[in-house]
């Protein structure tokens, strides 16, 4: 695993999130995601049977894995881990649209953009490198989304992960995701 200058990740607070989709829509505007495709999505998971039910709601996207199968399986080097932010990115010019990354992603976070390359959440690379929040974090009415540098122990995300109980998605795949659900 490469060491990167920063290690940006995302938490979603399942207690706060109401699953409204404002994040998905804000992402669409910010990143010009074509209608019908999506870099983010909302999950609602209900367990139990009437009337003893439990529900978990969260908004999800690319997990920006440290051990990213999409990067390992990309034959052209188009998918890579960005040295500066530690996020997973796609170099459009190198992408041939072969879909090896899509097949290997346990989170189903990628899609083929109509212009032919594979696209997904960039963690608003253009914004976070300018010191701004991601579009989804900024818009979220419930402040459920927090993005930050996991290398910085003083960042809000690091503090939340020390203070709160959290879960990660499909860790058995060995992906070392940088996406956390506060529960």
């Amino acid at each position: 695993m490469t060491r990167t200058a920063h290690k940006y990740g995302m938490v979603v607070d399942t207690i706060a999130c109401v699953g409204c989709s404002a994040c998905t829509l804000a992402c669409r505007s910010e990143n010009e995601v074509p209608e019908g495709l999506s870099r983010r999505w909302v999950n609602q998971e209900t367990r139990g049977s009437f009337p003893d039910l439990k529900m978990k709601i969260w908004s999800e996207s690319c997990q920006h894995c440290e051990n990213a199968p999409c990067v390992k399986n990309c034959p052209t080097g188009a998918s890579f881990i960005d040295d500066f932010t530690g996020t997973v990115q796609v170099e459009r010019d190198l992408c041939t649209g072969c879909k090896a990354c899509m097949a290997s992603c346990p989170y189903d976070a990628r899609y083929i953009h109509p212009t032919g390359y594979v696209d997904k959440c960039t963690l608003c690379h253009h914004r976070i490198t300018g010191g701004l929040e991601t579009a989804c974090e900024t818009v979220c009415p419930t402040s459920a989304i927090v993005v930050g540098d996991l290398n910085d122990p003083g960042s809000e995300i690091s503090q939340l992960l020390r203070k709160r109980k959290f879960e990660q998605r499909r860790t058995a795949a060995g992906t070392r995701p940088k996406f956390f659900l506060l529960v």
Partner: protein
């Protein structure tokens, strides 16, 4: 019109490029994707809106925005928008129109209204409206001499809540609601589905309070998103909420979990109230509601132990069963027992910035008597009843209505029993509809005037009562599409034609706003800042009463009215009384409706960005019941009510998340006007199934959730 947009004159529009971001200027304005009216920043590049985000300076958005607000671009660039004035050519309702010039359409409208006013008197005119632009047409109709001006947001939505609170505390629950959710330690929701009902600030506060450990009690036949975040979910039998609320009162009083000294000082009629609720024991309530006695007691204890920093939320759309004012009064009374009026975590005292009318604008005459109810009926109606105006049109009681203007409200999907709405329209001499999209109502009009969206127009200044008082500005961020025009311009043009020009004494919308700001005492610097920031803020008045201070309420007694003399004097129950509702027969279900966070009523059903997130409504059906009926999720059914009214096909959602005696669907789908290509025949129209409705005898609101439906599988 067509003059340069005001923000182009600003010296330094906020440039997002400075931060190395997407291109374009950022212009502050106010959202109208729903009526909450959050402040938005529109990012405009090359004359196109490319992003909408929350205005950080605006108290209702605090930099954040709900999905509808973000997706407003989909409404702005909807290819199905009305773009030209239309005049009917075929029979009314045949949906045949020709394109007309504005000159001709406005002349025709003025003539249609004037003829009716001359022949039958101004009391034969009616205006139905929803949304900010309605203010200009209200001025027009008041100027013509009528009081028949109704917003369905009253009698079809929140009216009973406000009357229930007025009868108890002397004040309505406000919009935005005066519930101090951020500071609540315990909150109960009665059918209110915050999080699905997506009013930005109210959901911000809700989630923040949950984050601080607020314990939530959700009373709902359906396991809503809010129920999923609750310590207690009480899956109540629909129609029995009054029993539950009086049961809470019973337990709190019986156990002595209330502040007797507070009640002694601040309440009237408490002894009579105590006697009335004595019969609502947890065991008796269980039989009616299905809520187990231990759950009722535990939740009453939670509320009482956290008092006064606990509340029962007043809710918003409360028009369910026809006894809604009494249910809302029961909500108010439990809050009274909690002693939370004027207390943190209860109900706060709102403040506002008073705005004055422009000095060159004469006062608009106010007319007292509307034609919305026969003499003596619905004595506590606090606004004109939209359903009442329809009724008068049909019956001629108290007088015939002969011309309607319908602004921004799609009456066939808003008022219950759409058959009656269409029959009333056919009795009119003239009807004009003003809308953005070819909603069903426009198909029945004689003249259709296409309005531009909120992103293309000014409206009047916005200054609500809230925890932080403010004035906000709606200003256009792009030029109007096609030949659509803003409401203020239409009203002014009609005013000219009707001899009412003095009520619209400005040439441009900027003059209109500037004159009003000047009259209200705002300095040039404050006004410039309003254009730049979108909002003027003011320090709030005190939000809470000092602990122990006596209440000074606007009720007749000045106190909390646990027993209402005025209700007794007018022939109503002075304390709410539970009456067992009719139950659905075998194979039928009570139809309940609600909201998706991504849609506003039926107004967004053609918005491609929002449909992308919530493409069609589904009928929620208890899973075990579905199995018995041989239905599975994804099956399609026709829904038919007790009167044979039908809608569908609608997709089934078989789920554990609902009781077996009711079904649920999100309102606003199943549009029938083919000119809205995405909305047409997409999903089911719950309003088509409301041929039965119950009118609240106290204030005239229409209860919708009294229809029983059956489901029949459709092979597709």
């Amino acid at each position: 019109m067509g003059s340069s947009l005001p923000w182009e004159n600003l010296e330094t529009p906020l440039e997002s490029q400075e931060a190395g971001l997407g291109q374009g200027s950022i212009i502050p304005t106010v959202c109208e994707m729903c009526f909450w009216k959050c402040g938005v920043h529109a990012r405009v590049h090359d004359g196109k809106v490319v992003a909408l985000t929350g205005n950080p300076d605006h108290p209702l958005s605090r930099g954040r925005l709900c999905p509808r607000g973000v997706g407003g671009i989909g409404s702005l660039y909807d290819p199905d928008r009305l773009s030209e004035p239309l005049i009917r050519v075929g029979e009314r309702g045949s949906q045949e129109f020709r394109v007309a010039t504005w000159e001709e359409a406005l002349d025709r409208t003025a003539e249609g209204l004037r003829k009716v006013a001359d022949q039958y008197g101004p009391e034969s005119l009616a205006l139905f409206y929803h949304g900010a632009g309605g203010s200009f047409f209200k001025t027009l109709f008041k100027g013509m001499g009528t009081a028949n001006i109704a917003a369905p947001s009253y009698a079809q939505c929140r009216g009973p809540r406000d009357v229930g609170f007025e009868l108890t505390f002397g004040e309505g629950a406000g919009s935005p609601e005066i519930a101090d959710v951020p500071n609540a330690r315990v909150m109960a929701l009665i059918g209110t589905h915050l999080g699905e009902n997506m009013h930005n600030t109210s959901v911000q506060d809700f989630s923040a309070a949950l984050g601080k450990g607020m314990r939530l009690i959700t009373v709902d036949p359906r396991y809503s998103v809010a129920a999923g975040k609750s310590k207690y979910w009480l899956p109540i039998k629909p129609g029995t909420d009054i029993a539950l609320l009086l049961g809470w009162a019973n337990v709190i009083i019986r156990e002595g979990w209330y502040d007797a000294a507070y009640i002694e000082k601040n309440a009237v009629g408490f002894d009579k109230f105590r006697a009335e609720v004595a019969k609502y024991t947890p065991e008796a309530v269980y039989i009616e509601t299905g809520i187990k006695p231990e759950q009722l007691i535990a939740t009453a204890r939670e509320l009482a132990q956290a008092a006064p920093h606990s509340l029962v939320h007043p809710g918003r759309r409360v028009t369910w069963y026809g006894d809604d004012t009494q249910r809302c009064r029961a909500v108010a009374l439990v809050n009274g027992l909690l002693g939370n009026w004027g207390q943190p975590g209860g109900f706060y005292m709102s403040s506002s910035i008073p705005l004055k009318q422009a000095e060159n604008q004469p006062p608009v005459p106010e007319h007292q008597a509307a034609s919305d109810r026969p003499a003596g009926s619905y004595p506590y109606a606090g606004s004109v009843l939209a359903n009442g105006l329809r009724e008068a049109t049909l019956t001629g009681d108290p007088n015939e209505l002969k011309a309607w203007m319908v602004y921004g409200t799609n009456l066939p999907m808003v008022l219950p029993d759409p058959r009656k709405t269409l029959a009333a329209i056919q009795k009119l001499d003239f009807m004009v509809a003003i809308d953005i999209l070819p909603m069903e109502i426009t198909g029945w009009a004689d003249v259709v005037l296409p309005e531009c969206t909120y992103l293309e127009r000014h409206d009047d200044l916005i200054a609500p009562w809230y925890r932080e008082p403010y004035v906000a500005l709606r200003q256009p961020v792009v030029e109007p599409m096609g030949n659509s025009k803003p409401g203020w311009w239409m009203a002014k043009e009609l005013g000219k034609r009707l001899g009412l020009e003095q009520h619209f004494p400005w040439e441009t919308a900027n003059d209109m706003i500037g004159d009003r700001l000047n009259a209200s005492g705002f300095s040039a610097a404050q006004q410039a800042n309003l254009y730049k920031k979108g909002v003027i803020l003011k320090q709030a008045d005190p939000m809470y009463l000092p602990a122990g201070a006596p209440l000074d309420l606007a009720t007749p007694s000045g106190k909390i009215e646990f027993w209402s003399q005025q209700l007794a004097d007018t022939g109503f129950d002075p304390v709410p009384v539970y009456r067992r509702p009719e139950q659905p027969g075998p194979g039928t279900f009570r139809l309940l409706t609600g909201r998706s966070p991504v849609h506003t009523f039926g107004r967004t059903a053609n918005n491609s960005r929002l449909l992308d997130q919530y493409p069609e409504n589904e009928v929620w059906l208890n899973r075990a019941t579905a199995v018995d009926m041989g239905l599975r999720s994804g099956d399609r059914v026709m829904m038919k009510n007790q009167d044979g009214a039908e809608t569908g096909p609608v997709k089934v959602k078989a789920t554990e998340r609902i009781r077996g005696d009711c079904v649920y669907m999100v309102h606003g789908f199943g549009h029938k006007d083919p000119r809205m290509r995405r909305a047409h025949n997409n999903g089911g129209d719950d309003n088509a199934l409301t041929t039965r409705y119950k009118v609240d005898p106290i204030m005239g609101a229409t209860g919708y959730s009294v229809n029983f439906v059956s489901l029949e599988k459709v092979e597709v």
